[in-house]
Amino acid sequence: MSAVLHLEGVFKHFGGIVVADDITLEIERGQILGLIGPNGAGKTSLFNIVTGVVPADAGDIRVNGVSIAGKGIHERARMGIARTWQNMRLFRTMTVLENMVVAPREYAGESMVRLCFRPGAVRRADEQACEQALAILERMQLERLADNAVTDLPYGQQKLVGLARALMNDGPCLLLDEPMAGVEGHAYETMKAVVRQEAQAGRAVCVVEHNISFIKDLCTSAVFMSAGRILERGQIADLLASKTLAELYFGT
């Protein structure tokens, strides 16, 4: 089984609302899965459940065959689940590079013990993280912005930085929550290219998006969610041709 991320029977409800209803899906290496559906379908909630921000009521979630049940948010990130946020959530008092340097799976500088007793190792880890960050920024042609405060950047570049920060996590799984929302032109093309590169390098990518052309361009297959349930899954072309889905999505 080459599934990197495997969800089985995931349930979650808030009060009376069912946010995830018997969700079963798989994402394989190199696959870019589109997660589409109307607002409130539970797409972001599903990301929150997988990353541990919200605990599932029932169901099994595995990364490369290993169950992540009971693991905390930071542990799941270290197991290789990287994500971006709908509202970016960049660290606003820090520069682009600083945002990224705290983002690798293992960060030596977060341990007081290591800081005090092995400062040399911590410094070297920092330098490596810097190099890794600059390499990622170079792929996006943003390396000259490394020392800029993130709040100084235009919206599109901030979103790219959000993606860059997530890419510091070299794990097998990448979850992108509406990466293209509000992004156009050069930033749009850059983001598409980078996501494609990541998939080609073997990552399992899942993208929540409303932007249909992005989905058509990039995703190999898709899953349509509505009211917490997966209604359809399969090839993009088929899903987009379906009239019932069009009704649900566009209300026409």
Partner: protein, 292 residues
Amino acid sequence: MEYVYSILILVGIYVVLASSFNLIIGTAGLVSIAHPIFFALGAYTSGLLAIHFGLNPIAGTLAGAAVAGVFSLMISLPSLRVSGDYLLITSIGFQLGLLQVIKNLELTGSQGGLSNIPTPIAGPERGWIFSLVALAAGAATVLLIRWIVRGPYGRAISAMRDDELAFVALGRDATRIKIVIFAVGSALAGIAGGIYAFYFQYLSPEQFEILASGTMLTMVVVGGMGSTWGPVVGAVLLLALPQAITFLRLPLSYMAPLQGMIFTLLVILFLFLRPQGLVAPEAPAPLRHKKQ
């Protein structure tokens, strides 16, 4: 001259207390009121070890710091597991509860306090030796905290304060960072306690009441939360003010509440007129990389 020495020693102690409290509430943003109790734990531990086992001041102070650090886990572990806000309630409860225990235990001298703490250092050198030690401790604390905050650990703390959820989702253990900072800050308060116990040789529970937190809050808020030198400014200010009030020649029963009133009023004024305090936090050390 002895009077000058005691002021210098108090400056050193206050700088340690203010800096460590600033680390906890200013830098890490943890909401806690229990700093006086760690000061007390350090003081009582080293005092009792000296009285019953004749432990020397250095070992005693370190033991006091260790006890304070370990006890801080009793607050931080249960409450931070839940959320950062629970820490406040737990710290209040711990502060008041432990103080009750101290007031009622015969071991700690009950209400009367613990007196006659022995120190091997006696005679005329006492004054300047302790002054040196206290001021050195103050300087060391400030520099230690500065080093922590300016490096990668400080960067992690900044990110954590900017957006804790995003920070954790990157793989960082925010809870552990908070627990460690709380323990380090509390242990430093314990060191201040040890120095206090060995110089003044008398401890009473009133000195560590929750109102003592008002003093520490004043030093941190007025000095400048999150800055390195703010606590130093705050500490010196807090020691200078009572000296200024002494000139008014009021009876003692008026002095203490008047002092308290001025301190709390200062905090309120600063909170509204100059929330960043007297010394603004300085920018962190920039990352050095090849593409500059």
